[in-house]
């Protein structure tokens, strides 16, 4: 019941049955509905199992269904509260459910074991407050989309896990597309690794460019400093006021005062024109 193992199992959502379960469960809204659906699944599962174990299977079935409903409810409550232990427990129980429905063709005995351990887990976590679970399900419907985004990394709930994972992947690919638009010549590259390589190269080149430009600016700047004949030119352009006054003016955040100095104008002209041309 350690979380990494469970995460592994839930990551392999290529299993079609688990996938469909993950599809169905969060959209069925109320925990009662989901519980009944799971009960149906479990029932078919019990029918598939041995007749010798079937008695135990049916017995365990009911407990499993009601516990699963509780688990679903508590999972939603965990989203609002930060209880670490109960979060872990609900995750594990839900993933156990998913596991069991995924391996539907296996013996019902293993199912029963799963159910047994689940019951134990539920009982151990029953010390925590179970009551607000059903109450808080309704208000937490609306921000569900949000917590999927936020909580996906923790591996919190397995039913919404694959959903969250998918959402995350979509987000990543969206960002990748944005980056591809930003980096020139990156649109033709196929494959995330190559795109990332391209991005890395681009950033490095940009940083080198900054270095180079600072070198250039240093040369220009110091030359203007040393040569008094050129000094007249930048003082007209850059520092119409003495430096302190300029600092005071430009440090303030009113654009009206920006416009008073002479150098903001050429900055707007120069930089603006070059920027518009470039984009």
């Amino acid at each position: 019941m350690d979380p990494p193992l469970i995460n592994e199992s839930s990551f392999s959502a290529a299993n079609p049955s688990a996938y469909s379960l993950a599809e169905i469960w969060p959209f069925s809204g109320e925990p009662g509905g989901s519980g009944s659906g799971l009960g149906l699944r479990m029932g078919s599962l019990g029918g598939l199992g041995d007749s010798s174990v079937n008695r135990d299977g049916s017995l365990e079935e009911s407990t499993v269904t009601e516990q699963s409903g509780g688990g679903g409810g508590r999972k939603r409550r965990d989203v609002s509260s930060e209880d670490e232990s109960s979060k872990l427990v609900s995750t594990s129980s839900a993933s156990g459910l998913k596991d069991s429905s995924g391996k539907r063709m296996k013996l019902a005995r293993s199912q029963n074991e799963n159910g047994g351990s689940k019951v134990e887990v539920e009982e151990s976590s029953a010390a925590g407050d179970n009551k607000p679970a059903e109450q808080s399900t309704k208000p937490s419907e609306a921000p569900k989309q949000d917590f999927i985004h936020v909580r996906a990394r923790r591996g919190q709930a397995t039913d919404s896990h694959s959903l969250a994972e998918r959402a995350r992947r979509e987000k990543i690919s969206e960002r990748m597309k944005l980056l591809q638009d930003l980096v020139p010549g990156c649109n033709k590259v196929i494959g995330k690794a190559l795109v990332l390589d391209e991005i890395i190269n681009y950033i490095q080149s940009l940083q080198h460019q900054v270095e180079f430009l600072s070198m250039k600016l240093e040369a220009v700047n110091s030359r203007m400093n040393m040569n008094p004949t050129i000094e007249a030119f930048p003082s007209k352009d850059l520092g119409a006021q003495p430096f302190d006054g300029a600092g005071l003016l430009f440090g303030s955040h009113t654009p009206r005062e920006y416009a008073q100095g002479s150098h903001p104008e050429w900055l707007h002209m120069q930089v603006g024109s070059s920027f518009e041309r470039a984009t």
């Binding site: 990543i172 930003l182 950033i203 940083q207 300029a246 903001p264």
Partner: protein, 162 residues
């Protein structure tokens, strides 16, 4: 493309650019005024190197200031630069400690290759402990800001050298 929207953070590049330009010009003036007028001091090469460094730092810090504290990378950059200023006064103890903690960064990648993401983390400031989504987002913003910075610097250099 004057603004890109990434998850609630709207970045106005134009205002960023003007802010950066003002700040950068100001710090350039400051550097020029503070520099010793004659190069009669010990070693010319060292002085130039130092001034280069100062200009670079000024460029980065004014960029980070222009972006403000809403992005992770600008915050990290400002912190780094501030720390760097402290480091000259103190010894290098802080750096050693921080190196050790850096190695404990986790890697949570789904479909994106790990080593590339690691490299990217090294390049983007403050990206050491981010998840992949925000890493990409910050990278996009960082790239935009860097290119803006380069354009401004280029324009400045062109203007001053003619």
């Amino acid at each position: 493309m004057t603004s890109i929207t990434t998850s609630g953070v709207t970045l106005n590049i134009k205002s960023c650019r003007t802010k950066f330009a003002h700040r950068f010009v100001r710090s350039l003036l400051q550097i020029r005024n503070h520099a010793p007028p004659s190069s009669s001091s010990s070693s010319e090469e060292k002085l130039i190197q130092k001034r280069r460094q100062r200009i670079k730092i000024a460029a980065y810090s004014s960029m980070a200031h222009a972006v403000g504290p809403r992005m992770n990378w600008s915050r990290a950059l400002l912190f780094k630069l501030r720390n760097r200023a402290c480091r000259h006064r103190k010894k290098k103890r802080i750096v050693v400690i921080r190196r050790k903690t850096k190695k404990a960064s986790r890697s949570s990648q789904g479909s994106v290759p790990v080593d590339q993401a690691k490299k990217l983390r090294r390049l983007v400031p403050g990206a050491k402990s981010m998840d992949l989504c925000s890493l990409l987002e910050e990278t996009a913003h960082y790239i935009t800001c860097l290119s803006t910075q380069i354009k401004v610097m280029q324009a400045l250099a062109d203007h001053l050298s003619k």
